[in-house]
């Protein structure tokens, strides 16, 4: 459902990704592993259209370069940035529903999706009315996940969701991911992480990014990330 074909990305004159090729099947849970600076974030940002790249990215058979970045979430792609990126001018709930409002979901659909988000992440309901600027970093990661769930009916990309989470919160987060997987077996998940152990429990597959190149990895041991 998602395919990179010879994707090369330069940022500031440096080649970050070189001829990256990989294919992700629908309903897969893919762990994208790689050391800091390997280009994981760059790969996800390329799917969203935030990098200048050569090569092709196909989503459900469509070449993404023909689709403006702002229209890509409408294809059912939810993306949670590495650093949360919530809108502090709004409440937590407003942040979560906003992608749905932008996509012109009906009121019923909005309510349904929001209910689903709260089912998977019940703690968000408690902070629904709080200004998004006032939640902690870890809670912010939950909100960012909720926001990605709102629109990501086909593909959800989470960039280092566990980074900076206290162990208890990290456990909650992986529970939430498992709940999501239980609820929706069709959605495709791509999760980047520098520590593959965290994803061993629920990823089907590992892609290892190193020095701008991708290869198939395994989740059974941590060596691939070294």
């Amino acid at each position: 459902m998602l395919e990179f074909r010879d994707v090369t990305v330069f940022l500031g004159g440096v080649r970050i990704l070189r001829n990256v090729n990989f294919h992700v099947n629908q309903a897969d849970t893919v762990a994208m592993i790689g050391p800091n600076g390997a280009g994981k974030t760059t790969a996800l940002r390329s799917v969203m259209g935030f990098t200048r790249m050569t090569g092709e990215i196909l989503f459900d058979g469509r070449e993404l370069s023909t689709i403006a970045p702002a229209r890509r979430p409408g294809l059912g792609i939810g993306y949670a940035h590495e650093d949360r990126r919530l809108f502090s001018a709004f409440t937590v709930e407003e942040n979560i529903v906003m992608p749905g409002q932008v996509a012109k979901f009906s009121a019923a659909e909005l309510a349904h999706k929001l209910g689903r988000v709260y089912e998977i992440l019940p703690e968000l309901r408690e902070m629904a009315r709080r200004p998004a600027g006032s939640v902690s970093g870890g809670q912010g990661k939950m909100v960012a996940l909720g926001r990605a769930l709102m629109i990501g009916s086909r593909l959800i990309m989470l960039d280092e969701p566990f980074q900076g989470l206290a162990p208890a919160l990290a456990r909650r987060y992986s529970e939430a991911l498992r709940a999501l997987r239980d609820q929706d077996r069709e959605v495709t998940l791509i999760i980047t992480e520098s520590n593959p152990k965290l994803l061993r429990k629920f990823a089907d597959r590992a892609l290892v990014l190193e020095r701008g190149e991708v290869r198939e990895g395994s989740l059974s041991d941590g060596k691939d990330a070294a």
Partner: protein, 301 residues
């Protein structure tokens, strides 16, 4: 200074501040979202004034009610915002968002110069005076001073209404929320499907329409002459910089401060009248470079 003179200075200041606010708030909105200091904003003000005075003249000469001036002002503001503001954003500014600030400033300055000539071509250099709206509402006596209802009550009420509506628009409507989201984080906004280009266009149209509305309202109180756009853009820059760039409520309070400063100067030190707004700005910026209400870091409006 006796009580009457004091009250008079306050009335003058408030009426003037209301007009300055309408222009300044559009300027600060555009800066807050697009990060462009739009010199052509002064032209929107002047063209709003010219269009209202000349069209109003025709309408009233044909015997229509002077109260039609108010809907006319609104129509002029919306038209200037969409036609002029929309075109300028689409065909010029859109291309230079990624360029550096100095170049953007030069481009909007060039637009301003071109529009000055366009005004001369369309309306000539003779002054227009069309105060039917002001006269239709008559006078009111407060503290022994007779003042026009239009300036003492209508203008400040409109300014206040614009302030409240703009805040409600930004906070409560989806279009407004999209503007706030793009202002805070363009990439995050795009990644939830917000078309930032369209948000920029909308913001520029709203800002331009506010300036034109200010000009339309001002046309009833003064003669419309060449150069009024330049005067207003300089003054509203002073208000916006003093308040802190991108500060909406701050622009309202600062417009009041500067309006009052100017009107008191008229009575107390007439020779400083023109200078007072800039003295206030200089003083404030020396102490608080980010402006009275500016926050040093986060981008927000």
């Amino acid at each position: 200074m006796n009580t009457q003179l004091f009250a008079l200075a306050i009335f003058d200041g408030v009426a003037y501040a209301a007009l300055v606010f309408l222009v300044a708030v559009g300027l600060t909105l555009i800066f807050g979202v697009l990060q462009i200091l739009n010199v052509a904003h002064g032209s929107f003000y002047a063209i709003g004034a010219y269009a209202t005075a000349s069209l109003g003249g025709m309408v009233f000469a044909a015997g229509f009610s002077p109260y039609l001036a108010f809907p006319l002002m609104l129509i002029v503001a919306v038209l200037v915002g969409i036609a002029l503001g929309g075109l300028i954003e689409q065909f010029l500014l859109k291309r230079i968002y990624v360029k550096e600030g100095a170049l953007q400033l030069l481009v909007t300055f060039a637009v301003f110069m071109i529009l000055e000539d366009v005004q001369r071509l369309v309306w000539g250099v003779q002054p227009y005076f069309e105060s039917s709206a002001l006269q239709a509402l008559g006078n009111i006596k407060v503290l022994g001073i007779t003042y026009t209802v239009y300036q003492l009550i209508v203008l400040p009420c409109i300014a206040l209404a614009v302030l409240i509506c703009l805040r409600l628009f930004l906070r409560r409507t989806l279009s407004g929320k999209l503007i706030l989201a793009v202002t805070e984080d363009r990439e995050a906004a795009t990644s939830i499907g917000i078309d930032a280009d369209r948000v920029y266009l909308l913001t520029f149209i709203v800002g331009a329409a506010l300036a034109a509305f200010g000009g339309a309202l001002a046309s009833a109180t003064t003669s419309v002459v060449p150069g009024m756009g330049a005067d207003m853009i300089v003054l509203s820059f002073a208000v916006v910089a003093t308040a802190g760039l991108g500060q909406i409520e701050g622009a309202a309070l600062t417009a009041l401060l500067i309006g009052l400063g100017r009107s008191f100067a008229v009575y107390l030190m007439p020779e400083l009248q023109v200078l007072v707004p800039y003295l206030i700005m200089l003083l404030v910026l020396l102490v608080r470079p980010q402006g009275l209400f500016g926050i040093a870091q986060a981008r927000k409006i």
